[in-house]
């Protein structure tokens, strides 16, 4: 059994190649008994589980298809798709994970998180995050009329394209003290996260941190098999 980790696909109707890449990835890399962990920002924007878009349907069908192939799929919310909820999980037959999850393998425990919580130097973002995760805020947002939410999402996507908001240079990196502290709290020596769009492997003393990349010219994934963790990439564009 191999466990695969991906994040930051930023799927959007304007980027059909990314969904195509995910479909190919699922078809070619995942085998029966494997597990797929999506560590946030699967979507560039998620306006609520009642999203009737073709993209939403395609992704839910794709993930539900994994379940049929006996591949378990786990999804964490990211900062761009934090409204992913129970209905999405039901329709795509995935299990939603909390912000921090510890999994075990033969080498011990591994902490999984999207990564935005580790960027504690970004004070404005952390303030927004606290606000956006407030149940009242989420309730109000997810109960706006669908049309209004669709327009909002489309504006968000246009804005992030124009401002190159998805480039690593526009996203703050993690705070190393926070990383060490969070790993200690969860009693792990291994951490996998995304969010920063800076794919790499870092050592913090005896602790190791794997960072997933965002999908664009390349698709990134981490494979965990028999205690060995590898960060891999493949071409998406020609």
């Amino acid at each position: 059994m191999t466990r695969f980790f991906i994040s930051d696909l930023h799927l959007a109707p304007e980027r059909p190649e990314l969904l195509a890449a995910l479909e190919q990835f699922c078809a070619q890399r995942l085998a029966r008994g494997d597990q797929l962990y999506i560590l946030g920002d699967l979507f560039e924007a998620w306006i609520g589980d009642d999203d009737p878009s073709a993209l939403a349907t395609q992704v839910k069908d794709l993930l539900a298809g994994l379940n049929q192939r006996e591949v378990d799929c786990f999804v964490q919310q990211g900062n761009r798709d934090f409204l992913l909820g129970k209905r999405f999980a039901r329709e795509s037959q995935c299990k939603m994970l909390g912000d921090y999850v510890v999994i075990k393998d033969s080498g011990g425990a591994i902490l999984l998180t999207h990564g935005d919580l580790l960027c504690t130097d970004d004070v404005d973002y952390q303030r927004f995050r606290r606000k956006s995760r407030n149940p009242l805020y989420r309730f109000v947002l997810s109960h706006l009329p669908l049309r209004r939410r669709q327009r909002l999402a489309s504006e968000w996507r246009a804005k992030s394209r124009a401002a190159s908001a998805n480039k690593a240079s526009s996203i703050m990196d993690v705070n190393e003290e926070t990383v060490v502290q969070v790993m200690a709290e969860h009693q792990v020596t291994r951490l996998i996260h995304g969010h920063t769009h800076r794919p790499n492997i870092h050592q913090h003393g005896a602790k190791t941190r794997w960072v997933l990349g965002d999908w664009g010219d390349f698709g990134w994934y981490i494979a965990l098999e028999k205690g060995a963790i590898s960060l891999e990439k493949f071409a998406i564009t020609p």
């Binding site: 070619q28 390349f218 493949f234 020609p238």
Partner: protein, 169 residues
């Protein structure tokens, strides 16, 4: 006209020497050198594109000439049946590999002179044998080493024919 003869049929191509002079001349030179003979379509994604011109049937990369400048700002669009240069994430890194669009791939078009927006330079189009391309795009693919989307049965260019009209190009 250049005809790529493959084990699945002939694909005839017209190059756009007006709008993509560097890329068209580059492709013609590879064709004249017989470089493409023995290369395969090594990356086939239905609904996207079929890519070839740089790998042999054992998935060994064939060493091309120096990379060329990216002409994606020439106004030609990545539409069904067009040919464009493949490259690494450096916009000006195309050498021999090309791809045939089997969808209207708007996101591959030029949108700005930066690494994200350079896009992929269209330099020609299929004028005959689109049925062959459509058969290729449907073949079964899998992963091979570090490569994904590799046809299970190799689709090889066996011969490259150049029409007299290109003799003085």
């Amino acid at each position: 006209m250049i005809t790529l003869r493959t084990n699945m049929g002939d694909i005839a191509i017209e190059l756009d020497f007006e709008k993509a002079p560097l890329s068209a001349a580059n492709f013609l030179q590879y064709a004249r050198d017989g470089f493409y003979n023995g290369t395969i379509f090594h990356r086939v994604i239905n609904g996207f594109m079929v890519q070839g011109g740089g790998m042999d049937s054992d998935m060994n990369q064939k060493e091309g000439r120096s990379p060329i400048e990216n002409e994606a700002d020439n106004g030609l669009k990545n539409e069904i049946g067009t040919l464009a240069m493949a490259r690494t994430n450096d916009p000006h890194s195309a050498s021999s590999q090309f791809f045939i669009n089997v969808a209207d791939n708007q996101f591959l078009n030029h949108s700005g002179k930066n690494p994200q927006g350079w896009g992929y330079a269209v330099f020609g189009k299929v004028v005959d044998g689109m049925d062959v391309v459509n058969t290729i795009k449907e073949v079964r693919t899998g992963s091979s080493g570090f490569h994904q989307d590799v046809p299970a049965d190799a689709i090889e260019i066996t011969e490259t024919l150049i029409s007299d009209a290109y003799a003085d190009r």
